[in-house]
Structure formats: C-alpha cells, structure tokens
Amino acid sequence: MSSELEQLYQEVILDHSRRPHGRGLEGGTSARSHQINPTCGDEITLELHRDAATGTLVSARWEGHGCAISQASASLFSDVVPGLTVAELTERIDSFRIAMRSRGTIEPDERLVGDASALAGVSRYPARVKCAMLAWVAAEDALAQPF
C-alpha cells in the first residue's frame, strides 16, 4: 500500500468514521443545512446550536451517509465547534478549505481545526476534497442563514 493511502486513511479517521461524534439531529432552534455530493449521492444534514444569551456555538449535530472521509470529517468537525463564536468558526472553515484545496502543499492548522488536521492526506486526492468538505460546507451554509 502506498504511503499516500496510509496517510489518507489514518487510524484516527477510520475510528471517527466507525464511531462518529455529533451524530443525531436535535432540532430546536438551530441553523440547519442539507448538502448533497451529486457525483456520489452522499448527503448530510447539519445543525449548529448556540447559546441564546452569549451567541457562542454550543454544538454541531449531523445525520447523513457517505464514505469514510465524509463521515470522519463530519465527526471531527463536530469536535471543533463547541465554544466558538460564529466568526471563529468561519475562520476555521476557511483555514480547513485552504488546506484541503492545497494539493498537499498546506497542512491544516492543528491549533484551529484540532484532530481534523488528520485529514491532511485528503488534499493529495483532488477527487476526495468534496467528501472532506461536505460537513464544513453545510456549516458555512447554515451560518449564512438567520439563526
């Protein structure tokens, strides 16, 4: 097996894909987005919950199906969200996207995206970037709507 493939499917990613965090929608007053990857039919519905008093994001919850990369990425994303302001989350989504689109030249910033930096290997596989971005794009879309 190539080192690129080992890098793509790191143990932490396979673990998250098998036992994902943040799975299961809660409803209530959340911002929500549904995203589809039309090339493969993968889809996700994602909710962002925030503290009504402070405006701070409390959690991300999601439901969907797809490949190990998209499932792990949604799980890792849900670990990033709690405690962030909307501006901070936007910064982290932007940072993650730049790394994913870098064709292996830019590592995700672990201080910003935490364990999601393990998805670094995806950027060497341009066809898989959409898989890794699915949850993050859903969050971006949710943030664009009024809470």
Binding site: M1, L14, C40, C67, A68
Partner: protein
C-alpha cells in the same frame, strides 16, 4: 437475444496478447502497478488504429462535409458517408437510418424533443391520456428525457418495476403496457446489473398496442452482436466512446418510415432545402437531424473502431466478456460481506458486476483499488432509482472489454478481499 448461445470460441490468450498491444494506454502504470482498467462500461480505450485513422483524416482530408466544390470537401464527405454506411451495416440497418449525434444522451434527447415537436395530426403527437413507459433500471439518459417529454406534453410517465434481483417484473406488463402506451424505452443491457433485457417479449408487448420501442444500446452495441432489424425495435441509440471510438460521436437509429415523419429538433445549417425570411423546408432524414457542423473526424474514427471490433468478432468478444463477468461474480461471492447487485452466479450477464461491500463505502473501496492500479467506477452509475430500489446509494462497478484479462479480474477480487481487511481493522 442471449450471449450464452455463441457459436464461436471466445478470444484466446494469444488473441488477448495481440489485442492488448494495440492499446497504448494499457501498458501504463498507475500508482506503481500495471493498470488494470475495469471501467470500460464508462468509457473504453482506443486502439492505435482508431487514433491513426482520426489523425490521418485531419492531416490529409480534413474539410467541411456536404458543402464546397473542392477536392478535400468531396473526400471528406465520402469518408463521412462511408462511416455512416459502416455503422448501418454494423447494426443491420439502412444507411439513411443512421443519424449522427454527439453522444448517446444527445441521441435520446434528440428523439424525445423531436417527438415533442410533433404537430397535431402527426403519428408522434402526445398529450394527456397517452403514456410513456421506461423501466426502473434505466440509466438516467434513458429515463429523464422521457420524464421530461411526459411533463412537456401532458402525457403520463410510467415504469416497469424490478424485483430484488434487479429483474424486470414482466408479470406486470399487461397492466403497464396498455392501449394508452405510446412509447416503451428500455436498456438492452443494464449498465449496473449487466442483465440482458428480454427484448422479444418487451417488443411484442409494445407493438401489440401500437407503441414505439426505443432501445438504449449503449452497453450492447460495444459488446454483443446487435441487429436492430432482427430485434424489431423502432429506435436505438449508442455512443462511440464506449466502443473503442472517440468521444463526441453517437448514433441515433430509427426506422426509415418513422424518421421520415419525425420533425426536427435542432435547426439551422445543413438540414434545410429552401429557406425564406418566413420559413424553412427541411431535408429528409438523416440530414434533417444533423444541424450544424458534425463530428466528422470522430465519425470516421468510429467506423475504424467498428472495423477493429468486427475483425475480432462481436460473438467472440461477447463470449470472452461473458466468461469474465462470470469470473467476477464467482470471485466476489467468495468474499464475506460482498453483495453483487443483480442475478447471482450462473445467470446470464454481460462482462460487468456492480457490488456493495458491507461496511465499506464504494468511494473508499474505489480509492483503495486505485492504489493498487485497479480502475473501477464508484457511485450510482447514473442509475439512482435502481440503486434506491436495491437498498443502497452507491456501488462499485467493474466492467470489462475485449482487452480485459482473467488476471485483471483476479486482481480485482484480491483487491476487494484486501480492502475488507484494511477497512475492517479494529472495526
């Protein structure tokens, strides 16, 4: 039609060696492994002779066809029309029944839009009360054009459902194909299941009620002997790029009498007789359906591809692929957690198999196989309703052609087995 009743022997190992030398791309490596290309159902590779013919045309005769009085124009026109005649002979049709399109999807849409353009009183006119029937296993290219035609005309769209094995539920034909049915469209060979449609039974049901039969021959024209006259269908379409030809060329075939009654879809240059500032009169078929500059070099190269296929023999190619399809299914069935879509081992199938590996998404499996130089298709293969009916959103499809070896099928099976270990670790 069946591919099990072949009268000639399949391709030999020596034939395969010879064939593979004709395809330059097959000698390349992918990720440090020899390429095992198992995605010919999506698009085929091209033998050197097809590339050479297209290049030679562009270097020596290239010119606009059906216009101009110069030598190059005359030579180009002759080659272009010879190519049409070559395609016609290949499918058992008349020369003037072959319409060039840019691909199969364009051919299906041309037909659907032309039917939709029929004026009141035309035999093609559709309206409320009329029904268009397809099947649940169709590729989107033979599904959406008919849904849309129904929506535009007020006709009703219906479909023949499939069972859990993906077989058409023929016992429902008497309820579905009725006096209201005007069009029945179906795939000759399923691009996902590899099953071969019971053409005679479907044609009989449609013709009994006076409905037109449209055959999606995308997965049959490249792989089986195809004779549209013997099959008694009314229209058929296929793509050049899936049968060793270039992209950008496709074929719509229709019975002469039907094409003659069919109004045009695209209008403009090269398809008219007399044009005034008020109106235009149109050429007879096939030119009526060929507005604008046509894919000339691609058509000529497609004729070369057909020569190449017929050199080896479609019956021998079909027998070769049938054996490969059977080996795929048998091999995949030895792996725990694999579900091959469609009929099980032993049932007739073309040289392809789509399957689901429990606990491993098709995209991850495809990536894993690519790392070993094995190219397969992953996703819904443009057949979402079929996948939904069979309880999955995506599958992995391996599809063969005349250049595919038993060794490549063995590598696929080994690769899938290795993937179950890799993705299952600590699982």
């Amino acid at each position: 039609m069946t591919i099990t009743r072949t009268t000639r022997e399949p391709l030999t190992a020596a034939d395969l060696t010879s064939i593979r030398k004709d395809f330059p791309i097959l000698s390349r490596e992918v990720n440090g492994h020899p390429l095992a290309y198992l995605d010919s159902g999506a698009t085929s590779h091209k033998p050197r002779v097809v590339l050479d013919v297209e290049r030679a045309f562009l270097e020596t005769e290239n010119s606009a066809v059906h216009r101009g009085a110069h030598t190059l124009a005359a030579e180009a026109t002759e080659l272009f029309e010879d190519a049409r005649a070559r395609v016609a002979r290949f499918i058992g049709a008349r020369d003037d029944e072959v319409v060039w399109t840019s691909n199969a999807t364009t051919a299906a849409n041309l037909l659907a839009y032309a039917i939709g353009n029929a004026m009141p009183g035309s035999p093609f006119t559709l309206g409320p009360g009329d029904e268009i029937v397809a099947t649940e296993l169709e590729h989107h290219a033979n599904l959406i054009p008919w849904q849309q035609l129904a929506a535009r005309t007020g006709a009703t769209f219906r479909y023949i459902p499939i069972d859990d094995d993906g077989a058409l539920r023929l016992e429902l034909l008497p309820e579905i194909i009725t006096e209201r049915t005007r069009i029945l469209a179906f795939a000759h060979v399923s691009n996902v299941l590899g099953t071969i449609a019971p053409v005679a039974e479907l044609v009989a049901a449609a013709h009994r009620v006076g409905a037109l039969v449209v055959l999606d021959a995308c997965q049959s024209a490249p792989h089986l002997p195809l004779n549209v006259t013997a099959l008694d269908v009314d229209f058929a379409f296929f793509s050049g790029h899936k049968m060793l030809g270039p992209t950008g060329i496709g074929v719509l075939w229709g019975r002469r009498a039907l094409l003659a009654e069919l109004p045009p879809f695209l209008t403009g240059g090269s398809m008219i007789t007399t044009v005034t500032m008020e109106k235009a009169e149109f050429l007879p078929p096939p030119q009526r359906f060929e507005a604008g500059t046509q894919p000339v070099s691609q058509a000529i190269a497609l004729a070369a591809a057909i020569d190449y296929l017929e050199h080896w023999g479609l019956d021998r190619i079909a027998a070769h692929e049938h054996a490969l399809g059977a080996a795929m299914v048998a091999g995949l069935h030895t792996i725990d957690g694999v579900r091959v879509l469609g009929a099980g081992s032993g049932a007739p199938r073309a040289g392809l198999a789509a399957f689901v590996l429990e606990g491993v998404h098709a995209h991850d499996l495809g990536q894993f196989l690519d790392d070993r130089g094995i190219a397969v298709r992953v996703g819904h293969h443009c057949a979402q309703p079929l996948h939904r009916r069979l309880g999955t959103t995506a599958s992995t499809r391996a599809s063969s052609y005349l250049y595919t070896t038993p060794g490549e099928v063995a590598r696929l099976v080994e690769g899938v087995a290795a993937a179950t270990t890799f993705f299952g670790r600590n699982g």
